[in-house]
Symmetry: C2
Subunit: 324 residues, 2 copies
Protein backbone atom coordinates (compact mmCIF):
# COMPACT_ATOMS: atom_id res chain seq x y z
CA UNK A 1 0.00 0.00 0.00
CA UNK A 2 1.17 3.51 -0.78
CA UNK A 3 0.98 6.29 1.80
CA UNK A 4 -0.81 9.50 0.88
CA UNK A 5 2.57 11.23 0.49
CA UNK A 6 3.68 8.58 -1.97
CA UNK A 7 0.42 8.94 -3.89
CA UNK A 8 0.93 12.70 -4.06
CA UNK A 9 4.53 12.40 -5.27
CA UNK A 10 3.44 10.00 -8.00
CA UNK A 11 0.83 12.54 -9.14
CA UNK A 12 3.27 15.46 -9.19
CA UNK A 13 5.74 13.31 -11.11
CA UNK A 14 2.99 12.42 -13.60
CA UNK A 15 2.08 16.08 -14.04
CA UNK A 16 5.74 17.06 -14.57
CA UNK A 17 6.03 14.53 -17.38
CA UNK A 18 2.90 15.45 -19.33
CA UNK A 19 3.68 15.61 -23.05
CA UNK A 20 2.11 18.37 -25.12
CA UNK A 21 2.52 16.93 -28.60
CA UNK A 22 0.65 19.67 -30.44
CA UNK A 23 2.56 21.86 -32.90
CA UNK A 24 1.24 25.03 -31.28
CA UNK A 25 3.17 25.32 -28.02
CA UNK A 26 1.74 28.78 -27.22
CA UNK A 27 -1.66 27.11 -26.88
CA UNK A 28 -0.36 25.09 -23.93
CA UNK A 29 1.32 27.87 -21.92
CA UNK A 30 -1.97 28.64 -20.12
CA UNK A 31 -2.46 24.90 -19.56
CA UNK A 32 0.94 24.57 -17.90
CA UNK A 33 0.28 27.77 -15.95
CA UNK A 34 -3.00 26.67 -14.38
CA UNK A 35 -1.65 23.18 -13.63
CA UNK A 36 1.37 24.79 -11.93
CA UNK A 37 -0.83 26.72 -9.49
CA UNK A 38 -1.05 23.59 -7.38
CA UNK A 39 -4.08 22.56 -5.43
CA UNK A 40 -4.65 19.45 -3.38
CA UNK A 41 -4.85 17.12 -6.43
CA UNK A 42 -7.79 15.44 -4.70
CA UNK A 43 -9.25 13.85 -7.84
CA UNK A 44 -6.13 12.08 -9.14
CA UNK A 45 -5.35 11.04 -5.56
CA UNK A 46 -8.79 9.43 -5.29
CA UNK A 47 -8.15 7.50 -8.53
CA UNK A 48 -4.85 6.13 -7.27
CA UNK A 49 -6.09 5.44 -3.72
CA UNK A 50 -9.14 3.55 -4.99
CA UNK A 51 -6.97 1.52 -7.37
CA UNK A 52 -4.47 0.81 -4.61
CA UNK A 53 -7.23 -0.66 -2.41
CA UNK A 54 -7.48 -3.55 -4.89
CA UNK A 55 -4.06 -3.73 -6.54
CA UNK A 56 -0.50 -3.15 -5.34
CA UNK A 57 0.57 -1.28 -8.48
CA UNK A 58 -1.18 1.96 -9.37
CA UNK A 59 0.72 2.57 -12.62
CA UNK A 60 -2.20 1.70 -14.89
CA UNK A 61 -4.29 4.28 -13.06
CA UNK A 62 -1.84 7.15 -13.53
CA UNK A 63 -3.00 8.27 -17.00
CA UNK A 64 -6.72 8.42 -16.12
CA UNK A 65 -5.71 10.21 -12.88
CA UNK A 66 -3.82 12.82 -14.93
CA UNK A 67 -6.82 13.10 -17.25
CA UNK A 68 -9.11 13.96 -14.32
CA UNK A 69 -6.71 16.58 -12.93
CA UNK A 70 -6.38 18.19 -16.38
CA UNK A 71 -10.16 18.05 -16.84
CA UNK A 72 -10.78 19.56 -13.38
CA UNK A 73 -8.40 22.43 -14.15
CA UNK A 74 -10.12 22.94 -17.52
CA UNK A 75 -13.40 23.48 -15.66
CA UNK A 76 -11.68 25.95 -13.32
CA UNK A 77 -10.23 27.83 -16.31
CA UNK A 78 -13.57 28.23 -18.09
CA UNK A 79 -15.52 28.80 -14.84
CA UNK A 80 -13.13 31.60 -13.84
CA UNK A 81 -13.69 33.20 -17.24
CA UNK A 82 -17.49 32.90 -16.93
CA UNK A 83 -17.37 34.26 -13.36
CA UNK A 84 -14.90 37.00 -14.40
CA UNK A 85 -12.76 35.90 -11.42
CA UNK A 86 -9.51 37.81 -11.03
CA UNK A 87 -7.64 35.31 -8.87
CA UNK A 88 -7.20 31.56 -8.62
CA UNK A 89 -5.09 30.25 -5.74
CA UNK A 90 -3.86 33.82 -5.16
CA UNK A 91 -2.51 34.19 -8.71
CA UNK A 92 -4.11 36.03 -11.62
CA UNK A 93 -6.49 33.86 -13.65
CA UNK A 94 -5.65 32.75 -17.21
CA UNK A 95 -7.93 35.33 -18.87
CA UNK A 96 -6.17 38.03 -16.84
CA UNK A 97 -2.61 36.88 -17.64
CA UNK A 98 -3.50 36.35 -21.31
CA UNK A 99 -6.97 37.33 -22.58
CA UNK A 100 -10.50 35.97 -22.92
CA UNK A 101 -10.00 34.34 -26.31
CA UNK A 102 -6.88 32.55 -25.10
CA UNK A 103 -8.83 31.34 -22.06
CA UNK A 104 -11.58 29.95 -24.31
CA UNK A 105 -9.24 28.25 -26.78
CA UNK A 106 -6.68 26.93 -24.31
CA UNK A 107 -9.56 25.59 -22.23
CA UNK A 108 -10.87 23.74 -25.28
CA UNK A 109 -7.40 22.36 -25.95
CA UNK A 110 -7.23 21.28 -22.31
CA UNK A 111 -10.51 19.35 -22.51
CA UNK A 112 -9.23 17.60 -25.63
CA UNK A 113 -5.93 16.94 -23.84
CA UNK A 114 -7.84 15.31 -20.97
CA UNK A 115 -9.39 12.93 -23.50
CA UNK A 116 -5.96 12.29 -25.01
CA UNK A 117 -4.62 11.23 -21.61
CA UNK A 118 -7.71 9.16 -20.90
CA UNK A 119 -7.28 7.45 -24.27
CA UNK A 120 -3.93 6.12 -23.04
CA UNK A 121 -5.70 3.89 -20.50
CA UNK A 122 -5.19 0.17 -21.13
CA UNK A 123 -7.71 -1.00 -23.75
CA UNK A 124 -9.24 -3.55 -21.38
CA UNK A 125 -10.53 -0.75 -19.11
CA UNK A 126 -11.17 1.95 -21.73
CA UNK A 127 -14.62 0.62 -22.65
CA UNK A 128 -15.85 1.35 -19.11
CA UNK A 129 -13.65 4.36 -18.28
CA UNK A 130 -14.52 6.41 -21.36
CA UNK A 131 -18.33 6.49 -21.04
CA UNK A 132 -18.00 7.08 -17.26
CA UNK A 133 -15.79 10.10 -17.91
CA UNK A 134 -17.98 11.49 -20.69
CA UNK A 135 -21.16 11.11 -18.61
CA UNK A 136 -19.45 12.84 -15.69
CA UNK A 137 -18.07 15.66 -17.84
CA UNK A 138 -21.54 16.34 -19.28
CA UNK A 139 -23.03 16.34 -15.78
CA UNK A 140 -20.46 18.88 -14.61
CA UNK A 141 -21.42 21.22 -17.47
CA UNK A 142 -25.04 20.74 -16.38
CA UNK A 143 -24.06 21.66 -12.82
CA UNK A 144 -22.32 24.83 -13.96
CA UNK A 145 -25.37 25.73 -16.06
CA UNK A 146 -27.62 25.28 -12.99
CA UNK A 147 -25.22 27.37 -10.89
CA UNK A 148 -25.30 30.22 -13.43
CA UNK A 149 -29.10 30.04 -13.67
CA UNK A 150 -29.33 30.21 -9.87
CA UNK A 151 -27.64 33.64 -9.89
CA UNK A 152 -30.77 35.31 -11.21
CA UNK A 153 -33.26 33.20 -9.25
CA UNK A 154 -34.57 33.87 -5.72
CA UNK A 155 -36.65 30.69 -5.44
CA UNK A 156 -33.99 27.97 -5.58
CA UNK A 157 -35.14 25.02 -3.49
CA UNK A 158 -32.92 22.95 -1.22
CA UNK A 159 -33.38 19.96 -3.52
CA UNK A 160 -32.31 21.98 -6.56
CA UNK A 161 -29.26 23.25 -4.71
CA UNK A 162 -28.24 19.75 -3.66
CA UNK A 163 -28.70 18.54 -7.26
CA UNK A 164 -26.54 21.41 -8.50
CA UNK A 165 -23.63 20.62 -6.15
CA UNK A 166 -24.02 16.91 -6.88
CA UNK A 167 -23.50 17.65 -10.58
CA UNK A 168 -20.94 20.42 -10.26
CA UNK A 169 -18.73 18.87 -7.57
CA UNK A 170 -19.69 15.44 -6.26
CA UNK A 171 -19.88 13.34 -9.43
CA UNK A 172 -16.24 14.04 -10.35
CA UNK A 173 -15.06 12.67 -7.00
CA UNK A 174 -17.35 9.69 -7.51
CA UNK A 175 -16.02 9.21 -11.04
CA UNK A 176 -12.42 9.36 -9.77
CA UNK A 177 -13.06 6.66 -7.17
CA UNK A 178 -14.93 4.44 -9.59
CA UNK A 179 -12.21 4.76 -12.24
CA UNK A 180 -9.60 3.71 -9.72
CA UNK A 181 -11.76 0.79 -8.61
CA UNK A 182 -12.31 -0.36 -12.22
CA UNK A 183 -8.57 -0.35 -12.93
CA UNK A 184 -7.91 -2.02 -9.59
CA UNK A 185 -10.20 -4.85 -10.65
CA UNK A 186 -12.90 -4.29 -8.02
CA UNK A 187 -16.25 -6.07 -8.30
CA UNK A 188 -19.22 -4.29 -9.90
CA UNK A 189 -20.74 -3.89 -6.43
CA UNK A 190 -17.61 -2.27 -5.01
CA UNK A 191 -17.33 0.03 -8.04
CA UNK A 192 -20.91 1.10 -7.45
CA UNK A 193 -20.41 1.59 -3.69
CA UNK A 194 -17.28 3.68 -4.22
CA UNK A 195 -19.18 5.83 -6.71
CA UNK A 196 -21.94 6.44 -4.15
CA UNK A 197 -19.31 7.02 -1.45
CA UNK A 198 -17.82 9.73 -3.70
CA UNK A 199 -21.18 11.41 -4.25
CA UNK A 200 -21.96 11.49 -0.52
CA UNK A 201 -18.52 12.64 0.55
CA UNK A 202 -18.59 15.26 -2.23
CA UNK A 203 -21.92 16.65 -1.04
CA UNK A 204 -20.60 16.72 2.54
CA UNK A 205 -17.42 18.55 1.39
CA UNK A 206 -19.37 21.19 -0.48
CA UNK A 207 -21.79 21.86 2.38
CA UNK A 208 -18.82 22.12 4.71
CA UNK A 209 -17.23 24.59 2.30
CA UNK A 210 -20.38 26.71 2.47
CA UNK A 211 -20.30 26.46 6.27
CA UNK A 212 -16.62 27.37 6.58
CA UNK A 213 -17.16 30.54 4.55
CA UNK A 214 -19.29 31.71 7.47
CA UNK A 215 -17.99 29.99 10.59
CA UNK A 216 -14.48 29.00 9.49
CA UNK A 217 -11.22 29.97 11.11
CA UNK A 218 -9.48 32.30 8.64
CA UNK A 219 -6.00 30.95 9.44
CA UNK A 220 -6.97 27.35 8.84
CA UNK A 221 -9.42 27.90 6.01
CA UNK A 222 -7.17 30.25 4.04
CA UNK A 223 -10.05 32.32 2.66
CA UNK A 224 -11.60 35.40 4.20
CA UNK A 225 -14.80 34.86 6.11
CA UNK A 226 -18.01 36.00 4.40
CA UNK A 227 -16.77 36.03 0.79
CA UNK A 228 -19.89 34.18 -0.36
CA UNK A 229 -22.11 36.57 1.60
CA UNK A 230 -20.53 39.67 0.04
CA UNK A 231 -21.15 38.48 -3.53
CA UNK A 232 -24.65 37.10 -2.77
CA UNK A 233 -23.54 33.61 -3.74
CA UNK A 234 -26.39 31.13 -3.64
CA UNK A 235 -25.00 28.79 -1.01
CA UNK A 236 -26.84 26.21 1.06
CA UNK A 237 -27.22 28.92 3.72
CA UNK A 238 -28.58 31.63 1.46
CA UNK A 239 -31.07 29.46 -0.41
CA UNK A 240 -32.36 28.06 2.89
CA UNK A 241 -32.51 31.53 4.45
CA UNK A 242 -34.52 32.74 1.45
CA UNK A 243 -36.88 29.78 1.83
CA UNK A 244 -37.23 29.87 5.62
CA UNK A 245 -37.19 33.57 6.52
CA UNK A 246 -40.47 35.43 7.05
CA UNK A 247 -41.72 38.99 7.51
CA UNK A 248 -39.23 41.60 8.79
CA UNK A 249 -36.42 39.06 8.77
CA UNK A 250 -36.92 38.30 5.06
CA UNK A 251 -37.20 42.01 4.25
CA UNK A 252 -33.88 42.58 6.03
CA UNK A 253 -32.23 39.73 4.08
CA UNK A 254 -33.57 40.98 0.74
CA UNK A 255 -32.41 44.48 1.64
CA UNK A 256 -28.81 43.27 2.07
CA UNK A 257 -29.00 41.26 -1.16
CA UNK A 258 -30.10 44.29 -3.19
CA UNK A 259 -27.89 46.90 -1.47
CA UNK A 260 -25.08 47.95 -3.81
CA UNK A 261 -23.05 50.18 -1.47
CA UNK A 262 -22.43 48.85 2.02
CA UNK A 263 -19.81 48.31 4.69
CA UNK A 264 -18.60 44.71 4.09
CA UNK A 265 -18.25 43.91 7.80
CA UNK A 266 -21.74 45.21 8.50
CA UNK A 267 -23.33 43.16 5.70
CA UNK A 268 -21.53 39.97 6.79
CA UNK A 269 -22.55 40.49 10.42
CA UNK A 270 -26.18 41.23 9.53
CA UNK A 271 -26.56 38.22 7.24
CA UNK A 272 -24.88 35.86 9.72
CA UNK A 273 -27.26 37.18 12.38
CA UNK A 274 -30.19 36.03 10.24
CA UNK A 275 -28.52 32.66 9.55
CA UNK A 276 -28.09 32.23 13.31
CA UNK A 277 -31.72 33.16 14.03
CA UNK A 278 -32.79 30.48 11.55
CA UNK A 279 -30.39 27.97 13.13
CA UNK A 280 -28.92 27.24 9.69
CA UNK A 281 -25.56 26.16 11.10
CA UNK A 282 -27.24 23.35 13.01
CA UNK A 283 -29.34 22.38 9.98
CA UNK A 284 -26.26 22.30 7.76
CA UNK A 285 -24.22 20.31 10.25
CA UNK A 286 -27.03 17.77 10.47
CA UNK A 287 -27.10 17.48 6.68
CA UNK A 288 -23.31 17.05 6.53
CA UNK A 289 -23.52 14.32 9.15
CA UNK A 290 -26.27 12.60 7.15
CA UNK A 291 -24.10 12.41 4.01
CA UNK A 292 -21.02 11.54 6.02
CA UNK A 293 -22.77 8.65 7.75
CA UNK A 294 -23.98 7.21 4.43
CA UNK A 295 -20.42 7.52 3.10
CA UNK A 296 -19.02 5.71 6.15
CA UNK A 297 -21.46 2.85 5.81
CA UNK A 298 -20.75 2.48 2.07
CA UNK A 299 -17.05 2.31 2.80
CA UNK A 300 -17.48 -0.30 5.49
CA UNK A 301 -19.46 -2.43 3.03
CA UNK A 302 -16.54 -2.75 0.60
CA UNK A 303 -15.12 -6.18 -0.08
CA UNK A 304 -11.54 -5.35 1.01
CA UNK A 305 -9.56 -5.79 4.21
CA UNK A 306 -9.88 -2.84 6.63
CA UNK A 307 -6.15 -2.02 6.39
CA UNK A 308 -6.51 -1.34 2.64
CA UNK A 309 -8.97 1.45 3.41
CA UNK A 310 -6.86 3.35 5.94
CA UNK A 311 -5.27 5.83 3.49
CA UNK A 312 -8.59 6.81 1.93
CA UNK A 313 -10.21 7.03 5.38
CA UNK A 314 -7.40 9.23 6.70
CA UNK A 315 -7.51 11.60 3.74
CA UNK A 316 -11.27 11.99 3.94
CA UNK A 317 -11.14 12.46 7.73
CA UNK A 318 -8.52 15.16 7.36
CA UNK A 319 -10.51 16.94 4.64
CA UNK A 320 -13.70 16.71 6.70
CA UNK A 321 -12.00 17.27 10.04
CA UNK A 322 -14.03 14.33 11.30
CA UNK A 323 -13.31 10.79 12.44
CA UNK A 324 -14.73 7.79 10.57
Amino acid sequence: MFSFDQIQSRIEEGLRHLQYANPQQSLYEPVKYILSLGGKRVRPALVLMACNMYKDSVEEAVMPAMALEVFHNFTLLHDDLMDKAEKRRNKPTVHKVWNENTAILSGDAMLIFAYELLGKTETEYLGRILPLFTKTAAEICGGQQYDMEFESRMDVSEAEYLEMIRLKTAVLLACALQMGAIIGGASEQDCEKLYRFGVNIGLAFQLQDDLLDIYGNTDVFGKNIGGDILCNKKTYFLINALQQSRGEQQKELLHWLSETSFDPKEKIQAVIYIYNELRLREQTEAKIKEYFDVAVSLLSGLDVLPERKTVLVEVCSRLMNRKF
Copy 2:
Protein backbone atom coordinates in the same frame (compact mmCIF):
# COMPACT_ATOMS: atom_id res chain seq x y z
CA MET B 1 -23.63 2.22 -53.33
CA PHE B 2 -25.54 5.17 -51.94
CA SER B 3 -26.05 8.34 -53.95
CA PHE B 4 -25.01 11.65 -52.43
CA ASP B 5 -28.68 12.46 -51.81
CA GLN B 6 -29.11 9.22 -49.89
CA ILE B 7 -25.97 9.96 -47.86
CA GLN B 8 -27.34 13.41 -47.03
CA SER B 9 -30.74 12.08 -45.97
CA ARG B 10 -29.08 9.55 -43.69
CA ILE B 11 -27.10 12.36 -42.06
CA GLU B 12 -30.14 14.59 -41.55
CA GLU B 13 -32.03 11.62 -40.09
CA GLY B 14 -29.11 10.95 -37.75
CA LEU B 15 -29.03 14.57 -36.63
CA ARG B 16 -32.80 14.58 -36.00
CA HIS B 17 -32.45 11.57 -33.72
CA LEU B 18 -29.59 12.81 -31.55
CA GLN B 19 -30.32 12.11 -27.89
CA TYR B 20 -29.38 14.72 -25.31
CA ALA B 21 -29.34 12.63 -22.16
CA ASN B 22 -28.10 15.35 -19.81
CA PRO B 23 -30.39 16.54 -17.01
CA GLN B 24 -29.91 20.17 -17.99
CA GLN B 25 -31.92 20.60 -21.20
CA SER B 26 -31.33 24.37 -21.33
CA LEU B 27 -27.64 23.63 -21.90
CA TYR B 28 -28.53 21.94 -25.19
CA GLU B 29 -30.83 24.57 -26.69
CA PRO B 30 -27.85 26.40 -28.26
CA VAL B 31 -26.52 23.04 -29.48
CA LYS B 32 -29.79 22.25 -31.24
CA TYR B 33 -29.92 25.81 -32.58
CA ILE B 34 -26.52 25.80 -34.25
CA LEU B 35 -27.04 22.30 -35.64
CA SER B 36 -30.39 23.44 -37.09
CA LEU B 37 -28.73 26.23 -39.09
CA GLY B 38 -27.86 23.67 -41.74
CA GLY B 39 -24.72 23.75 -43.82
CA LYS B 40 -23.48 21.25 -46.36
CA ARG B 41 -22.68 18.53 -43.77
CA VAL B 42 -19.48 17.89 -45.71
CA ARG B 43 -17.62 16.14 -42.87
CA PRO B 44 -20.22 13.50 -41.99
CA ALA B 45 -20.83 12.98 -45.72
CA LEU B 46 -17.11 12.27 -46.20
CA VAL B 47 -17.22 9.69 -43.38
CA LEU B 48 -20.16 7.85 -44.95
CA MET B 49 -18.87 8.10 -48.51
CA ALA B 50 -15.44 6.79 -47.54
CA CYS B 51 -17.04 3.92 -45.62
CA ASN B 52 -19.37 3.16 -48.52
CA MET B 53 -16.39 2.79 -50.89
CA TYR B 54 -15.44 -0.37 -48.98
CA LYS B 55 -18.69 -1.61 -47.46
CA ASP B 56 -22.31 -1.64 -48.61
CA SER B 57 -23.72 -0.68 -45.21
CA VAL B 58 -22.73 2.66 -43.71
CA GLU B 59 -24.67 2.21 -40.45
CA GLU B 60 -21.57 1.63 -38.30
CA ALA B 61 -20.17 4.92 -39.58
CA VAL B 62 -23.21 7.01 -38.67
CA MET B 63 -22.26 7.73 -35.02
CA PRO B 64 -18.70 8.86 -35.78
CA ALA B 65 -20.13 10.94 -38.66
CA MET B 66 -22.53 12.63 -36.21
CA ALA B 67 -19.63 13.17 -33.81
CA LEU B 68 -17.67 15.03 -36.49
CA GLU B 69 -20.61 17.24 -37.43
CA VAL B 70 -21.24 18.08 -33.75
CA PHE B 71 -17.52 18.73 -33.25
CA HIS B 72 -17.33 20.94 -36.34
CA ASN B 73 -20.29 23.00 -35.12
CA PHE B 74 -18.66 23.26 -31.68
CA THR B 75 -15.62 24.87 -33.34
CA LEU B 76 -17.91 27.27 -35.23
CA LEU B 77 -19.70 28.19 -31.99
CA HIS B 78 -16.49 29.01 -30.09
CA ASP B 79 -14.79 30.60 -33.14
CA ASP B 80 -17.78 32.91 -33.65
CA LEU B 81 -17.51 33.95 -30.02
CA MET B 82 -13.76 34.59 -30.29
CA ASP B 83 -14.26 36.52 -33.56
CA LYS B 84 -17.26 38.40 -32.09
CA ALA B 85 -19.18 37.40 -35.25
CA GLU B 86 -22.80 38.53 -35.36
CA LYS B 87 -24.09 36.12 -37.97
CA ARG B 88 -23.64 32.48 -38.89
CA ARG B 89 -25.45 31.29 -42.02
CA ASN B 90 -27.49 34.52 -41.97
CA LYS B 91 -28.80 33.90 -38.45
CA PRO B 92 -27.61 35.50 -35.21
CA THR B 93 -24.75 33.60 -33.57
CA VAL B 94 -25.24 31.70 -30.30
CA HIS B 95 -23.58 34.38 -28.14
CA LYS B 96 -25.96 36.93 -29.68
CA VAL B 97 -29.15 34.87 -29.17
CA TRP B 98 -28.07 33.89 -25.64
CA ASN B 99 -24.90 35.39 -24.16
CA GLU B 100 -21.15 34.83 -24.00
CA ASN B 101 -21.20 32.54 -20.97
CA THR B 102 -23.85 30.34 -22.56
CA ALA B 103 -21.73 30.18 -25.71
CA ILE B 104 -18.69 29.07 -23.70
CA LEU B 105 -20.53 26.47 -21.64
CA SER B 106 -22.78 25.06 -24.36
CA GLY B 107 -19.72 24.82 -26.58
CA ASP B 108 -17.95 22.80 -23.89
CA ALA B 109 -21.01 20.56 -23.56
CA MET B 110 -21.00 20.14 -27.34
CA LEU B 111 -17.37 19.01 -27.42
CA ILE B 112 -18.15 16.48 -24.70
CA PHE B 113 -21.24 15.42 -26.65
CA ALA B 114 -19.07 14.82 -29.74
CA TYR B 115 -16.97 12.43 -27.64
CA GLU B 116 -20.13 10.78 -26.35
CA LEU B 117 -21.27 10.07 -29.91
CA LEU B 118 -17.80 8.92 -30.92
CA GLY B 119 -17.78 6.57 -27.93
CA LYS B 120 -20.76 4.77 -29.46
CA THR B 121 -18.58 3.49 -32.31
CA GLU B 122 -18.21 -0.31 -32.38
CA THR B 123 -15.43 -1.33 -29.96
CA GLU B 124 -13.42 -2.98 -32.74
CA TYR B 125 -12.84 0.40 -34.42
CA LEU B 126 -12.77 2.64 -31.34
CA GLY B 127 -9.10 1.98 -30.60
CA ARG B 128 -8.13 3.60 -33.92
CA ILE B 129 -10.96 6.14 -34.23
CA LEU B 130 -10.53 7.76 -30.81
CA PRO B 131 -6.83 8.77 -31.03
CA LEU B 132 -7.38 9.93 -34.64
CA PHE B 133 -10.19 12.19 -33.51
CA THR B 134 -8.33 13.53 -30.48
CA LYS B 135 -5.18 14.26 -32.52
CA THR B 136 -7.31 16.06 -35.11
CA ALA B 137 -9.26 18.06 -32.52
CA ALA B 138 -6.00 19.24 -30.90
CA GLU B 139 -4.61 20.21 -34.30
CA ILE B 140 -7.72 22.26 -35.05
CA CYS B 141 -7.26 24.21 -31.80
CA GLY B 142 -3.67 24.77 -32.87
CA GLY B 143 -4.88 26.08 -36.23
CA GLN B 144 -7.28 28.51 -34.58
CA GLN B 145 -4.47 29.69 -32.27
CA TYR B 146 -2.24 30.33 -35.34
CA ASP B 147 -5.08 32.16 -37.07
CA MET B 148 -5.60 34.44 -34.06
CA GLU B 149 -1.87 35.10 -33.76
CA PHE B 150 -1.73 36.01 -37.47
CA GLU B 151 -4.17 38.89 -36.88
CA SER B 152 -1.49 40.96 -35.18
CA ARG B 153 1.39 39.87 -37.44
CA MET B 154 2.45 41.44 -40.75
CA ASP B 155 5.19 38.93 -41.55
CA VAL B 156 3.23 35.67 -41.95
CA SER B 157 4.99 33.49 -44.53
CA GLU B 158 3.24 31.42 -47.18
CA ALA B 159 4.44 28.24 -45.44
CA GLU B 160 2.98 29.40 -42.11
CA TYR B 161 -0.32 30.25 -43.78
CA LEU B 162 -0.52 26.85 -45.46
CA GLU B 163 0.27 25.15 -42.14
CA MET B 164 -2.49 27.18 -40.45
CA ILE B 165 -5.17 26.19 -42.99
CA ARG B 166 -3.93 22.59 -42.92
CA LEU B 167 -4.55 22.52 -39.17
CA LYS B 168 -7.68 24.65 -39.06
CA THR B 169 -9.54 23.14 -42.03
CA ALA B 170 -7.84 20.32 -43.91
CA VAL B 171 -7.11 17.77 -41.17
CA LEU B 172 -10.80 17.46 -40.22
CA LEU B 173 -11.71 16.48 -43.79
CA ALA B 174 -8.78 14.06 -43.78
CA CYS B 175 -9.91 12.65 -40.41
CA ALA B 176 -13.48 12.21 -41.71
CA LEU B 177 -12.29 10.24 -44.75
CA GLN B 178 -9.91 8.08 -42.73
CA MET B 179 -12.59 7.30 -40.13
CA GLY B 180 -14.95 6.17 -42.87
CA ALA B 181 -12.20 4.05 -44.43
CA ILE B 182 -11.33 2.44 -41.07
CA ILE B 183 -14.96 1.48 -40.47
CA GLY B 184 -15.28 0.33 -44.09
CA GLY B 185 -12.41 -2.05 -43.47
CA ALA B 186 -9.94 -0.44 -45.90
CA SER B 187 -6.27 -1.43 -45.86
CA GLU B 188 -3.75 0.66 -43.89
CA GLN B 189 -2.42 2.01 -47.20
CA ASP B 190 -5.87 3.12 -48.39
CA CYS B 191 -6.60 4.72 -44.98
CA GLU B 192 -3.36 6.66 -45.30
CA LYS B 193 -4.04 7.68 -48.91
CA LEU B 194 -7.53 8.89 -48.09
CA TYR B 195 -6.14 10.93 -45.20
CA ARG B 196 -3.64 12.60 -47.54
CA PHE B 197 -6.38 13.05 -50.16
CA GLY B 198 -8.39 14.89 -47.50
CA VAL B 199 -5.50 17.17 -46.56
CA ASN B 200 -4.82 18.08 -50.19
CA ILE B 201 -8.45 18.61 -51.14
CA GLY B 202 -8.92 20.63 -47.93
CA LEU B 203 -6.01 22.93 -48.75
CA ALA B 204 -7.37 23.34 -52.30
CA PHE B 205 -10.87 24.16 -50.94
CA GLN B 206 -9.53 26.81 -48.56
CA LEU B 207 -7.38 28.50 -51.19
CA GLN B 208 -10.38 28.50 -53.52
CA ASP B 209 -12.44 30.08 -50.74
CA ASP B 210 -9.85 32.84 -50.46
CA LEU B 211 -9.94 33.28 -54.23
CA LEU B 212 -13.74 33.37 -54.47
CA ASP B 213 -13.90 36.17 -51.89
CA ILE B 214 -12.13 38.29 -54.51
CA TYR B 215 -13.06 36.91 -57.91
CA GLY B 216 -16.23 34.96 -57.11
CA ASN B 217 -19.65 35.44 -58.60
CA THR B 218 -21.84 36.82 -55.81
CA ASP B 219 -24.92 34.89 -56.96
CA VAL B 220 -23.14 31.56 -57.01
CA PHE B 221 -20.85 32.13 -54.05
CA GLY B 222 -23.55 33.50 -51.79
CA LYS B 223 -21.23 35.90 -49.98
CA ASN B 224 -20.41 39.50 -50.86
CA ILE B 225 -17.18 40.06 -52.73
CA GLY B 226 -14.31 41.58 -50.78
CA GLY B 227 -15.45 40.67 -47.26
CA ASP B 228 -11.99 39.39 -46.37
CA ILE B 229 -10.40 42.55 -47.80
CA LEU B 230 -12.62 44.87 -45.76
CA CYS B 231 -11.68 43.23 -42.44
CA ASN B 232 -7.97 42.84 -43.35
CA LYS B 233 -8.25 39.07 -43.04
CA LYS B 234 -4.91 37.37 -43.50
CA THR B 235 -5.77 35.27 -46.54
CA TYR B 236 -3.43 33.59 -49.00
CA PHE B 237 -3.72 36.74 -51.12
CA LEU B 238 -2.97 39.24 -48.37
CA ILE B 239 -0.02 37.39 -46.84
CA ASN B 240 1.50 36.94 -50.31
CA ALA B 241 0.82 40.57 -51.21
CA LEU B 242 2.57 41.65 -48.00
CA GLN B 243 5.53 39.42 -48.83
CA GLN B 244 5.80 40.27 -52.54
CA SER B 245 4.91 43.97 -52.78
CA ARG B 246 7.66 46.58 -52.88
CA GLY B 247 8.07 50.38 -52.66
CA GLU B 248 5.02 52.52 -53.50
CA GLN B 249 2.85 49.44 -54.01
CA GLN B 250 3.57 48.16 -50.49
CA LYS B 251 3.00 51.65 -49.03
CA GLU B 252 -0.38 51.75 -50.77
CA LEU B 253 -1.29 48.29 -49.41
CA LEU B 254 -0.22 49.20 -45.86
CA HIS B 255 -2.19 52.44 -46.14
CA TRP B 256 -5.41 50.53 -46.89
CA LEU B 257 -4.71 48.10 -44.06
CA SER B 258 -4.31 50.88 -41.50
CA GLU B 259 -7.07 53.19 -42.81
CA THR B 260 -10.00 53.14 -40.38
CA SER B 261 -12.54 55.24 -42.33
CA PHE B 262 -12.90 54.47 -46.01
CA ASP B 263 -15.36 53.82 -48.80
CA PRO B 264 -15.71 50.00 -48.89
CA LYS B 265 -15.91 49.81 -52.69
CA GLU B 266 -12.82 51.97 -53.05
CA LYS B 267 -10.78 49.86 -50.63
CA ILE B 268 -11.80 46.60 -52.31
CA GLN B 269 -10.98 47.98 -55.74
CA ALA B 270 -7.60 49.36 -54.66
CA VAL B 271 -6.52 46.13 -52.92
CA ILE B 272 -7.65 43.94 -55.83
CA TYR B 273 -5.69 46.23 -58.15
CA ILE B 274 -2.52 45.39 -56.17
CA TYR B 275 -3.38 41.67 -56.13
CA ASN B 276 -3.75 41.83 -59.93
CA GLU B 277 -0.46 43.66 -60.37
CA LEU B 278 1.24 40.89 -58.38
CA ARG B 279 -0.55 38.21 -60.45
CA LEU B 280 -1.76 36.59 -57.24
CA ARG B 281 -4.82 35.05 -58.89
CA GLU B 282 -2.57 33.07 -61.24
CA GLN B 283 -0.26 32.08 -58.38
CA THR B 284 -3.21 30.91 -56.29
CA GLU B 285 -4.79 28.98 -59.14
CA ALA B 286 -1.48 27.23 -59.76
CA LYS B 287 -1.28 26.28 -56.07
CA ILE B 288 -4.87 25.00 -56.09
CA LYS B 289 -4.09 22.90 -59.18
CA GLU B 290 -1.00 21.52 -57.44
CA TYR B 291 -3.02 20.28 -54.44
CA PHE B 292 -5.85 19.10 -56.65
CA ASP B 293 -3.51 17.03 -58.83
CA VAL B 294 -1.97 15.35 -55.78
CA ALA B 295 -5.48 14.59 -54.52
CA VAL B 296 -6.49 13.08 -57.86
CA SER B 297 -3.44 10.83 -58.00
CA LEU B 298 -4.00 9.65 -54.40
CA LEU B 299 -7.59 8.79 -55.24
CA SER B 300 -6.62 6.87 -58.37
CA GLY B 301 -4.18 4.83 -56.28
CA LEU B 302 -6.90 3.44 -54.01
CA ASP B 303 -7.51 -0.29 -53.99
CA VAL B 304 -11.20 -0.10 -54.99
CA LEU B 305 -13.08 -0.40 -58.28
CA PRO B 306 -13.50 2.95 -60.10
CA GLU B 307 -17.31 2.85 -59.81
CA ARG B 308 -17.02 2.92 -55.99
CA LYS B 309 -15.26 6.28 -56.18
CA THR B 310 -17.80 8.06 -58.37
CA VAL B 311 -19.87 9.64 -55.55
CA LEU B 312 -16.82 11.04 -53.77
CA VAL B 313 -15.36 12.25 -57.06
CA GLU B 314 -18.62 13.95 -58.06
CA VAL B 315 -19.00 15.72 -54.69
CA CYS B 316 -15.42 16.98 -54.73
CA SER B 317 -15.72 18.07 -58.37
CA ARG B 318 -18.86 20.00 -57.59
CA LEU B 319 -17.30 21.67 -54.54
CA MET B 320 -14.17 22.56 -56.53
CA ASN B 321 -16.03 23.30 -59.77
CA ARG B 322 -13.40 21.18 -61.46
CA LYS B 323 -13.33 17.84 -63.30
CA PHE B 324 -11.23 14.97 -61.95
